[in-house]
């Protein structure tokens, strides 16, 4: 009977740690609530399957059932997420009822970032020009910098952008156009 075979398998004596022969399920993480233990495995921003590299077990998403703010508590480093190598910023879009969060360090430049934003919120960004900002669309990607000013995404060199960007907002309509005329 199939039940007894499964039963025997589950209870067979072994020297290894139990639970290994079940596939360890790792979600391809778009989930921004990244437990800080990721920094131990040395790869931040990399999503997808971890190989079950011995000797440490693969981490299973959702196990053990400890909330993120408890897990994060024991990092000796400062709580801010930049300590684990990523630059996380919140992204909002006018009219969308939810915020997303992205890691700016993952992207190599503006084209990649804009593509991701387009996919994330299902809209198109217009053509960028230094003089006129984004043309051809109702939406403009903007960001708040360290000084609290709202700037147009793309106006400053990429490296400067990722270190000064605090959060992103995809503005809609006339408010957006107002920014593009301001210049840097």
């Amino acid at each position: 009977m199939e039940n007894s075979v499964a039963y025997e398998k589950a209870t067979e004596l072994r020297l290894g740690l139990p639970g290994i022969d079940e596939p360890a399920v790792l979600s391809s993480v778009k989930n921004n609530k990244r437990p800080l233990h990721d920094e131990k495995s040395g790869e931040n921003g990399k999503s997808g399957q971890n190989e079950r590299a011995p000797p440490s077990k693969a981490q299973i998403v959702g196990w053990p059932p400890v909330q993120s703010y408890r897990k994060n508590n024991f990092q000796q480093a400062k709580k801010s997420e930049s300590e684990c190598g990523g630059i996380y910023v919140k992204v909002s879009m006018d009219g969308a009822p939810y915020l997303r969060k992205i890691d700016l360090k993952v992207y190599k430049g503006y084209p990649e970032l804009l593509q991701v934003l387009e996919n994330m919120f299902k809209f198109t960004i217009g053509e960028y020009s230094e003089r006129e900002g984004y043309k051809g669309s109702d939406y403009e990607p903007t960001y708040e910098d360290k000084d609290g000013d709202w700037m147009l995404v793309g106006d400053v060199p990429w490296e400067m952008f990722i270190t000064s960007c605090k959060r992103l907002r995809i503005m809609k309509g006339s408010e957006a156009r107002g920014l593009s005329c301001s210049g840097v």
């Binding site: 199939e2 039940n3 499964a6 039963y7 589950a10 209870t11 004596l13 740690l17 139990p18 639970g19 079940e22 399920v25 979600s27 391809s28 778009k30 989930n31 921004n32 609530k33 437990p35 233990h37 131990k40 440490s56 077990k57 981490q59 299973i60 998403v61 959702g62 196990w63 053990p64 059932p65 400890v66 909330q67 993120s68 703010y69 408890r70 897990k71 508590n73 024991f74 709580k79 801010s80 919140k90 009822p97 939810y98 915020l99 997303r100 969060k101 959060r167």
Partner: protein
Amino acid sequence: MQKKTAYSFPDEILEHVFSFIQSGKDRNAASVVCKSWYEIERWCRRKIFVGNCYAVSPTMVIRRFPDIRSIELKGKPHFADFNLVPDGWGGYVLPWISEMAGAYPWLEEIRLKRMVVTDESLELVAKSFTNLQVLVLFSCEGFSTDGLAAIAASCKNLTELDLRDSEVDDLSGHWLNHFPDTYTSLVSLNISCLGSDDVSFSALERLVGRCPNLRRLLLNREVPLDKIANLLSRAPQLIEFGTGTYAAELRSDVYSNLAEAFCNCKDLKCLSGFWDAVPAYLPVIYSVCSRLTSLNLSYAPIQNPDLTKLVSQCPSLQRMWVLDYIEDSGLEVLASSCKDLQELRVFPSDPFGEEPNVSLTEKGLVAVSSGCPKLHSVLYFCRQMSNEALVTIAQNCPNFTRFRLCLLDPKIADYRTLQPLDVGFGAIVEHCKDLRRLSLSGLLTDRVFEYIGMHAKKLEMLSVAFAGESDLALHHVLSGCESLRKLEIMNCPFGDKALLANAAKLETMRSLWMSSCSVSLGACKMLGQKMPRLNIEVMDEKGPPDSRAESDPVDKLYIYRSVAGPRFDMPPFVWTMDEDFASELS
């Protein structure tokens, strides 16, 4: 309106009688007695609890209950706490706030759990509900301190603001300044989740100083220890206090100020916070310890002997939350000192470590179960367990209402006999007849589910991971647990047969979550066709379900009853298996 006879009560009398019925369940029961009771009851219901915000629409609630003053809403499934629910899943409160803004201008209390709350929602709350007294955002996210500023500025009657465990975008500590100088009604403030380096401390001090009714104050980690004394001296009437970071260089002036401040808080009964705690400053709270009924040290890295010494000074404890640094020895002391203990939670200090870093085993829990006759609620993380220990615990504590055991290594067997832990958990459900909530872990076969189905008749919530071998397991639970409301399952090898055989049961429950199990797409579609009053939501971030075979298991499944039909705010990775979906693809 019913024709009045000499033998029926006037409506006003019935309404007066109903005003004594506070519980939602009782009110629901009264409302189905007859049509006139339904009518009278719905006009005078003031408080409503919606356990799943998608089970009903705001329009329907407003239509039935025209004059609500207090609402509680819950959004995401519980496993969202452990990162199993991706961002963007749902649980938005804005549609509710928008509709209630017009319908319930006198709303006084809003309590939300696991919902997405935007600044826009908070601004709308601030604008629409001038009488708001209570705002509780429990494990919510999506808002920033800008939204809080709007609340502070407008809600003149606010008594309680509780942001417990929420994820808040800290843009500026200055939101506290938005409480006007004339505002003095604060009774309860919980900002422990805020992370900003810039909580405006002076604004906080002034706020605390001018609110004489403040009884509960939970600070965030960033408030330094040397500021606490000053704060406490402005609020000696506090009953519950949560410190900020509890570490600082040892200085005698800071020390004595703190000790004096705590000593002057004669009503203080609950303490929490203690982030980064160092032993040097622990004795300042000794004067309070004998009165403490609740102590939360679950963020404190203090170890034995300091930790045990502290605990031994608190004989009145009813609730204790602590890290596993307490160890078996500390729990034995707890068991002998704290005879009023009702709730114990022991959290892991190193959840991902492979080797135990502390000496905390099943022995600690056995000791507490033996020494504390009032113990009824347990959450315990440890690395080893035996059936014998569980049986002892069950016999010691037949009054358990909540028993959650988490063995850090999934599928670990009884360490003494190498048997599954079926018998041990079986004893728990057999002896604890009032058990309402149970979380299983360790090596478990179908047998434990047979015991649960047989005995756990009052069980309302069951959490299962890495357990069972066949659909029989799920069938036992669905067919046996009469009171079951919430079932959440991860990484178990069963699904289809049990679900389809017990489809009707699912309509009697609030929700079912199954992730990384063996539920096929085909079964989901069948359920969707058969059960129109259930929302069958399949979640898969890798791609649409129709790109796979019918027999392929779905990644995540969330089933809940609803009178509102399928929802329309689903993200791209969630599909509803309703009748349309099923027929479209076949």
